[in-house]
């Protein structure tokens, strides 16, 4: 089946269509992870985005229920060099092709994806359309240009859960040798997690650390959260621009200092703004599983999973209030901060990984310690 990818700057790619015989619109970003396409499909932070995977062979190991990061995929569309018609892995239950079709997501394959990545690298992320229906490229380019810009749109509200729920599932065991610890309800800490587009592995990690988690909608007020008597509050990752998400920033200001807070990705950016800082958009963002990040205190390097187009401007923060704890070694973007007086720290990258290296799992332990100390 013929498929076309049209970019707002008139660059056209023609390839083969897979997944849903449909059309999709979004900001085109590339991800350099070698593994974990299913986690990427289902990461709510990708809402509004068409994802290009630089690994040329996608779909090889199919899909399975365990590797979902949300109840459904959130990418708008997928671009790959080659899409496997069969799936081969002992855990696979459905071919990636069928899986995406089921959720009405179109795929364009068999294009020079490296050329596309180089194009985005030089000209920055841009809007685009994948169509398995329309063949008139002018029409498609026009459509691409009519897509609302990411900047200034609050997508957290859109993807967030509509009602509160509690979560108690721990990490997934994929083979016998891997053991999980039993959690005893006595010492369990209660974490209230804001869902701006939360990845389930974050919840699993918290449970693994011995927490009961209550997930609340993005717009839940600080008062309602405190009413839940949390030992700590978690601010999740999520899609889009943090700036327009003002309600969250206000809630964070109210919560800061009253309860331990840990934020990831969008959560980090919102804290940055709440503390009076500024955010800016990166040229083509960080999306991948191989970013070296330095812990400023120890000088140790973590290989980390990234997925962000926006970042907090370190110069915009009040150094006497906020400590910059992590920086990206590739382009020295700010990747983590900690408040000097209040129990509050955040990271821009993804310690929950999934997909990606596990080097930063320790941060969940840090959060638990922080909560215990606060509890006294």
């Amino acid at each position: 089946m013929q498929a076309i990818l049209a970019l707002e700057d008139r660059r056209i790619f023609r390839g083969k269509g897979y997944g849903a015989k449909a059309e999709c619109y979004g900001e085109v970003v590339f991800n350099t992870s070698l593994t974990g396409y299913q986690e990427i499909f289902t990461d709510p932070s990708y809402a509004g985005q068409i994802v290009v995977l630089t690994n040329p062979q996608i779909g090889n190991y199919g899909t399975n229920p365990e590797d979902n990061e949300a109840v459904r995929p959130f990418i708008e569309g997928l671009v790959v060099r080659e899409f496997s018609p069969i799936s081969s892995n002992w855990r696979s239950q459905q071919a990636a092709d069928e899986y995406l079709e089921r959720f009405n997501i179109p795929v364009i394959a068999d294009i020079d994806s490296r050329a596309l990545v180089r194009h985005l690298r030089t000209h920055g992320v841009m809007r685009g359309v994948i169509s398995l229906i329309e063949s008139d490229t002018d029409k498609l380019v026009a459509k691409a240009r009519s897509i609302p810009k990411m900047d200034g749109t609050d997508l957290a509200r859109v993807v967030s859960t509509k009602q509160r729920y509690s979560w108690n599932q721990g990490p997934i065991v994929t083979y016998p040798a891997q053991a999980t610890k039993e959690l005893d309800p006595e010492s369990a800490l209660h974490v209230v997690a804001y869902d701006y587009g939360i990845k389930q592995n974050i919840l699993r990690m918290l449970v693994d650390q011995g927490c009961n988690v209550t997930v609340v909608p993005a717009e839940t007020s600080a008062e309602d959260v405190l009413a839940l008597k949390p030992d700590g509050v978690f601010l999740s990752n999520g899609p889009g621009d943090p700036e327009p998400v003002t309600y969250a920033q206000q809630n964070i200001r109210k919560l800061a200092g009253k309860t331990p807070i840990f934020g990831i990705c969008l959560g980090h950016q919102l804290v940055g703004l709440a503390l009076g800082g500024k955010t800016y958009k990166l040229k083509f963002g960080h999306h991948g599983g191989n970013h070296p990040v330095r812990q400023e205190r120890s000088g140790k390097i973590e290989i980390t999973a990234h997925n962000h187009n926006f970042a907090v401007d370190p110069d915009s923060l009040n150094q006497s209030e906020v400590e910059m704890t992590h920086f990206d070694l590739n382009d020295s973007t700010l990747e983590g901060l900690r408040h000097r007086t209040m129990p509050l720290f955040t990271v821009q990258y993804h310690p929950e990984a999934s997909p990606g290296p596990h080097d930063s799992h320790y941060l969940f332990g840090d959060f638990v310690k922080m909560m215990q100390e606060w509890k006294g």
Partner: protein, 1092 residues
């Protein structure tokens, strides 16, 4: 942490001769390490016995010792070095010289040498090395950190072995401790097999110990390349998935990077495990290779082993990702941390990251069982391949197809080679041709599911192969003149070569078929573009032009307008075409770069220095076929810049392309393709040599059995029979009668009108000589006259030789010089030329002329201190010999070797092929070589023997059996050995003469005479040295029997008087017990001084 200032001197140990399991990859890693350490301002001392390496070039270290890699010699080197006054600590880096260096380091530490001289191990601590190398300690460590391993027990005798096997049940894996490439390992399916594998394993293990292990046959096999620094930062450079499941050594498996069939969850588990392993074992800095097995249907993951050093796989990983593991390992060893080291390729980002790639890499091993008749062809836990080719493509399919054609097997697999009856068996048991059978099975309609069940190969890989063969079927439906361009494009995108397309169109063998296809491509505007290997999937801009071709839209590597030279490499290592040729290619590149040319390398061998991205200005990692080479040329020429191509350095592979390349309009510099062809063409060359009045053994051509017999009789028995166009003497025999000629013609060779069989009169009892010479078309300089230590009839690559020649009469040397000059001029040689002479009864014959770089070029360069290949390359660009070697040109003198003797000796892979015939003949069997340097021929010879793993005895019994022609020198030789305290055992004729000379002799039967004969004595370990100069058919067969026995008993067997006398000297110097080592750089310095 910046570099350590307390260290000032670092000893790097190389890996010695090329052997199966330890190949050119350690020249690559060692070279990188030396460069890196020198750049850091350390004083670098290098020890390696292999002269054919770049690392032993004088520029790469401050002091280079080409000496035996044994404890004694290393201790002497360390003693000398520590006596010189040095500014700081003396350190030893043992992790870039393979298993050899690692084992030596352990030996030096255990024997207290390191402590005695205060030498510090860097890169890996003793404790770590032992824990990783001792399979049981390793398994304990794994259990400690909660990782799963196959059940196992360490045994040091048969009984315990059998008992344990009984417990865990067959099949079981047997793996000796401390052997490389799994020597002596195997799979036993029953008690009998267990017995003999166990016996061999115990014998081969230096610690007489083997591991018996639960089988995980058929599981998925993975490797991770891990790096760690002193601040405990750990990164995974690359994941590699073996296409062949567990049970086939990773070195014998087709491997794929990155891993293709693991989810993130599974991959991250493996990554976590790898990090825990390197921490637990305690490899403080540098690279390690960790192997895992994964159960295909339940995901159970076991750790197989760890190599606490750079390895074959890390060389592969470096080439696959562009991340230079050895170079960085060296810098980590001296204290840097990963975040302090920049990534050469992106410049802006640090080396502390995990490379990500947007292409697929496939490595395919190259085997040469055909050279070892009787060798068991099955693949198992012991490595048997002699080389490998790597290919890069945008998809697995493209990479696989490029890899297959990179193997340069001479023939493309076709249906005829298949035996359908054996299909099932050929699919079940892994063997070199399994890919071919898979393709056939797929064509025949066997399903992926079915084949996955039979082969335990992951269905995903089989699916890819199916898609390729489906495409070929589709192509067959459309004849060449009506094939839709779109379909052809898709075929090319799957990596299908023009030659295969031609085949599908049934124009396969017709002349210029591939050319037709090429033109059709051109007509449809179908040509590859070139993409960069950049470590980061294009996320960042990259600066190193490390390129591969793909049928895609965008070309990333516009050619420059500079004047440039393309150098064709030699492809996968193989017997007869090894590292020596890569050495020459690198030197050509270095020289021409200095001369201001843009140098461009094309090669597909990941083990080599030539495929290091900073060896040339541009590296094209491409197959060496006409199609791929032309594509590169066209691309480079498209800038309008002047492009020249060099085919002379890569051995036979590029040489075979020279005429077609020229025909396609590629300007080839150096000796003209016509001359090259002339030298290869029996008839025309014979005529030329006649005109020049140079004697050659009478020869004939045959394209049928009758012609062969006629020919043999006309040239006179014995005869040497062989096919045309071969390197390393594939499939040659010496025949003494019609019967053997007929058998050979019937069984041994494929021949055709354009490829007839060659028949030469065999010069018995002749001394063979190799001559290398430089020529610029006008002037000629003889670089070296190498006297072989075995008689003619033993392939030049398999016989030891010595520089300068000993015991060759001056007038014969002059004759050879004269012939060399004549031939060089007649062939208008520009660059290097190699001639093999044989001297029989005071007469010089030419055996062969190779108007190209030869196997001996690096050895001669090391012995003379003159970089032959560099000069040759410059001559090809029009420069003149007078610029470089004025004296020699003026006075017509050979290059000087100073006051030392240099002996080159071959190394054989017998231990990998139990039961094969170890006899030597005109077909090359050795995989590598070593060099011995000494004040006397004897000392040099003894060292070379030692380096080759065969030490001359210092006492005991010598067996002597001498051909009549040699009997003059016999009495004296006998006396010599008596003086040395040896007993003599001799055959009758020989014994008579010795007794007449008043020497005590014990008589023994020849093999055919009766028993107990000499072979019985050898087997009874009654004999420590063999001197046997055969002549005539019977002795020839005797010699074979004797040699076989000698090899199994590891007893030196000498076949010329020259060798015998050398051995005597060598033994004398060994009895003297004094060990002397020489610094390469100083040898040459002295010589230059002497010359002035």
């Amino acid at each position: 942490m910046p570099r350590r200032k307390d260290i000032s001197k670092i000893l790097v140990i190389g890996s010695g001769p090329i052997v199966i399991g330890q190949s050119a990859e350690f020249d690559y890693s060692g070279t990188q390490a030396c460069k890196a350490l020198k750049a850091e301002g350390y004083e670098v001392v290098l020890a390696n016995s292999n002269p054919a390496t770049i690392m032993t070039d004088p520029e790469l270290a401050d002091r280079t010792y080409i000496e035996p890699l044994t404890r004694e010699y290393l201790e002497e080197i360390i003693r000398l070095e520590s006596e010189m006054k040095i500014g700081g600590k003396f350190a030893l880096l043992p992790t870039v010289g393979g298993q050899t260096a690692l084992n030596l380091a352990v030996e030096l530490a255990d024997s207290g040498v390191l402590d005695k001289y205060g030498v510090e191990l860097i890169g890996a601590q003793l404790r770590a090395i032992k824990m990783a190398e001792d399979r049981l300690l390793f398994k304990d460590a794994m259990t400690r950190i909660g990782l799963d391993v196959p059940k196992s027990a360490l045994v040091n005798n048969l009984r315990d072995g059998i008992e344990f096997a009984g417990k865990i049940g067959f099949p079981v894996i047997i793996r000796p401790s401390f052997t490389l490439g799994g020597s002596g390992g195997g799979i036993a399916y029953n008690r009998e097999e267990l017995m003999d594998i166990l016996a061999r394993g115990l014998d081969l293990s230096p610690v007489h110990e083997v591991l018996i292990e639960e089988s995980v046959l058929g599981w998925k096999e993975y490797e991770l390349e891990v790096m760690r620094d002193l601040r405990d930062n750990v990164i995974i450079v690359c994941s590699i998935e073996n296409l062949d499941p567990m049970g086939v050594h990773t070195g014998d498996s087709i491997t794929v990077a990155p891993a293709q069939t693991l989810t993130d969850r599974e991959y991250q588990c493996m990554r976590d495990a790898a990090i825990r392993v390197i921490r637990e074992i305690g490899v403080e800095t540098g690279g390690s290779n960790i192997q895992f097995g994964v159960h295909p249907t339940n995901g159970r993951m076991v750790v197989i082993e760890m190599n606490p050093r750079v390895s074959r796989s890390s060389a592969l990983a470096s080439k696959a990702t562009g991340f230079p593991i050895a170079k960085i390992a060296a810098r980590l060893a001296v204290g840097y941390t990963l975040d302090e080291i920049p990534n050469d390729i992106t410049r802006k980002t640090p080396a502390c990251f995990e490379p990500t790639i947007d292409y697929v890499v496939v490595k395919i091993p190259k085997w040469q069982f055909e050279k070892f008749p009787g060798a068991e062809e099955g693949l198992g836990p012991q490595m048997k391949s002699v080389g490998e080719a790597m290919a890069i493509g945008r998809t697995f399919k493209e990479a696989l197809m490029k890899g297959v054609r990179s193997l340069d097997t001479g023939k493309r697999a076709t249906a005829e080679d298949i035996e359908p009856r054996r299909l099932m068996q050929r699919l079940v048991t892994p063997h070199p041709e399994r890919l071919m059978y898979l393709r056939y099975a797929l064509r025949e309609g066997h399903t992926v599911k079915e084949l996955a069940r039979i082969t335990a190969i992951d269905p995903w890989f089989l699916q890819q192969m199916k898609e390729i063969s489906d495409m070929q079927k589709e192509i067959e439906k459309h004849p060449i003149d009506s094939v839709p361009p779109q379909l052809m494009r898709e075929a090319k995108r799957l990596g299908i070569s023009d030659a295969r397309l031609a085949e599908s169109w049934k124009i396969g063998d017709s002349k210029g078929a591939a050319e037709k296809v090429r033109h059709l491509r051109a007509k449809n505007g179908l040509k590859p573009v070139f993409k960069l290997v950049d470590t980061c999937a294009a996320e960042f801009e990259s600066y190193t032009p490390y390129l591969y071709s793909a049928y895609e839209e965008e070309d990333e590597a516009p050619p420059t307008g500079k004047k440039k030279v393309i150098i064709l490499g030699s492809g996968p290592n193989r017997i007869g075409q090894g590292i020596e040729f890569d050495y020459c290619c690198c030197h050509a590149s270095f020289a021409l770069r200095e001369d201001g040319y843009e140098t461009i390398m094309i090669n597909c061998n990941p083990e080599t220095v030539s495929t290091d991205y900073d060896t040339s200005d541009r590296l094209y990692f491409e197959p060496l076929t006409l199609e791929d080479v032309l594509a590169v040329h066209e691309h480079e020429a498209s800038s309008g810049a002047p492009v020249a191509m060099i085919v002379q350095f890569g051995g036979q592979t590029p040489l075979n392309l020279s005429l077609p390349l020229k025909a396609a309009g590629v300007p080839i510099i150096g000796t003209s393709p016509e001359s090259i062809d002339l030298a290869e063409d029996r008839k025309r060359f014979g005529k030329l040599i006649e005109e020049l009045g140079i004697p050659q053994p009478p020869g004939a051509l045959a394209t049928s059995v009758d012609e062969a017999v006629k020919g043999a009789n006309s040239v006179g028995y014995p005869v040497l029979v062989r096919p045309s166009y071969v390197l390393g003497g594939r499939a040659m025999v010496i025949a003494y009668d019609d019967a053997s000629v007929i058998r050979y013609m019937k069984e041994a060779v494929e021949y055709s009108q354009e490829r007839p069989v060659l028949i030469d009169h065999f010069l018995e009892a002749a001394i063979e000589v190799d001559v290398d010479a430089l020529s610029d078309g006008d002037d000629v300089v003889v670089a070296g006259i190498m006297q072989h230590i075995e008689e003619a009839g033993i392939h030049s690559g398999d016989s030891s030789c010595v520089l300068p020649a000993v015991e060759i009469a001056p007038h014969l040397l002059d004759t050879m010089r004269e012939y060399t000059f004549k031939l060089a001029r007649a062939l208008k040689v520009v660059g290097l030329m190699n001639i093999q002479f044989a001297i029989q009864r005071d007469k010089v014959y030419v055996l062969e002329v190779n108007p190209r770089a030869s196997r001996t070029v690096p050895y001669v360069s090391k012995a003379t201190g003159v970089p032959l290949a560099k000069i040759a390359a410059r001559l090809m660009t029009g420069r003149k010999l007078r610029e470089f070697l004025p004296e020699n040109v003026e006075q017509g003198t050979d290059l000087e070797t100073g006051d030392c003797y240099f002996v080159k000796s071959p190394v054989f892979p017998w231990n990998k092929f139990p039961g094969v015939d170890t006899v030597l003949g005109p077909e090359m069997k050795s995989t590598g070589e070593v060099m011995g340097v000494g004040d006397t021929f004897g000392e040099a010879f003894a060292k070379a023997q030692l380096s080759a793993g065969q030490s001359l005895p210092t006492s005991g019994t010598v067996f002597i059996s001498i051909a009549d022609r040699d009997k003059d020198g016999l009495a004296e030789l006998g006396k010599r050995f008596v003086e040395l305290g040896f007993n003599i055992v001799a055959t009758h004729g020989t014994a008579n003469i010795l007794e007449r000379a008043g020497l005590p002799v014990e008589r023994v039967y020849k093999v055919k005479e009766g028993r107990p004969n000499v072979v019985d004595l050898i087997k009874g370990e009654r004999i420590q040295l063999i001197i046997n100069t055969p002549q005539g058919q019977d002795p020839w067969f005797d010699e074979q029997a004797i040699r076989r026995a000698a090899v199994t008993q590891r007893i030196p067997a000498l076949t010329t008087m020259a060798a015998a006398r050398a051995a005597a000297d060598g033994i004398a110097s060994r009895q003297g017990g004094k060990i002397t080592v020489r610094v390469l750089q100083r040898l040459h310095a002295e010589r230059v001084a002497v010359a002035k």
